[in-house]
Subunit: 194 residues, 2 copies
DNA sequence: TTGGTGTGTCAACAGTTGTTGGCCTACGGT
DNA sequence: ACCGTAGGCCAACAACTGTTGACACACCAA
């Protein structure tokens, strides 16, 4: 035995094709949404036959599930000065999806596809809530604080990357940070008014 | 001549059918989004033949255009105490679409349909910007302030009514007001941090 | 009564979609 | 050199889509 006996998926010859399909799928899902992104179009982008998509990913839903794998990659917030949490978060999010269209695909699809909505719930419920809980807020309010942060973050993404409201598109990242950081900061560490 | 000679569309016998189609269309568009809401399903809900939809609204796009007619019905903000703008706005928005599913239809569709996105841009660019401009902020920042307000408002709607993030669904309107009003207030009358 | 127009149904069209099975080819271990 | 198998393409299916035209009935003015 030259390699580990179990759990050693030796590289398949088709890995490049798989990756090409996944890349094309992400692009199409991101720009067109789930329904308008046809398997034929994705296959054409990847320069392969539509039937290959089915063989490697089983179905369109399976393909989307693979393409929409998304990790917020939230940093560890415990060593962030409590007063800079908002700024760190908004900076991270802006950087995170300015270069990755997966979230746009997820955002577009979550509007109409129940499975994608469920996945989005999962991502923000687990990853974001976990990060927010990481620096020790009152557990009773943690999930609501995380939800409020999600509402502003997703609203920003929706208006800037999906609907493309002109003023939201025009603003430079630094200006957005200046406006949104205090919002997130208050959602995380502040108190509601009433 | 018994009535006004021009521009007097006397009530047609089919007005109830037209209204039934429009109501069914709004429901379907709101719950399924543009692509999944089929004309056949809408016609079935309205208990008429699919071809009637075409006759009265020309095409699916025309039907959507009619069904997605939306007015934010923003109150006049000039007589609101400047310190309560955020609270008034968030209260108004919550009340406005808790009972009207048109905005949900628009929100779902704007994710994938360019025409709907354009309409959403128009609504927020004209109606919201106009209202924000109404109480005399610096014209140079008005559109950005309006955009930021839209980002939080739409993010709230998206997480609460579309994706249905549990913490956002659970929160009572009053609690949401307490959290979000200060955000809108600062977007409208505050200064950015940097 | 009569004719025309508005209201509605039925059946079918042409195109697109996800999906399937058969077939050919070329790699790679033995 | 051989042969099993994985990678890839082609053609087709069945279902569903928006859309159209022909046809039937009911209303209403003349």
């Amino acid at each position: 035995m030259t390699v580990a006996p179990t759990d050693a998926p030796r590289p398949r010859r088709s890995d490049v094709t798989r990756a090409a399909i996944l890349g094309a799928a992400r692009e199409r899902f991101a720009s067109d949404g789930y329904e308008r992104a046809t398997i034929r179009a994705i296959a054409a982008d990847a320069r392969i036959d539509p039937s290959m998509v089915m063989r490697y990913y089983g179905s369109k839903e399976g393909l989307f599930a693979a393409a929409a794998e998304f990790d917020l990659r939230l940093p560890d917030l415990t060593d962030v000065p409590p007063g800079q949490l908002g700024e760190v978060l908004i900076r991270h999010f802006l950087a995170r999806w300015e270069g990755d269209e997966t979230l746009a695909a997820l955002l577009r699809t979550a509007s109409t596809n129940p499975g994608a909505a469920e996945r989005m719930r999962g991502i923000f419920a687990s990853q974001l809530s976990a990060a927010v809980a990481g620096f020790g807020t009152d557990p009773a309010t943690t999930s609501r604080r995380a939800g409020l942060v999600a509402s502003q973050i997703l609203g920003l993404a929706f208006t800037r990357y999906i609907v493309r409201l002109p003023p939201m598109v025009e603003m430079a990242p630094e200006e957005l940070v200046g406006w949104v950081a205090p919002t997130l900061q208050r959602y995380l560490t502040g108190l509601p008014e009433n």
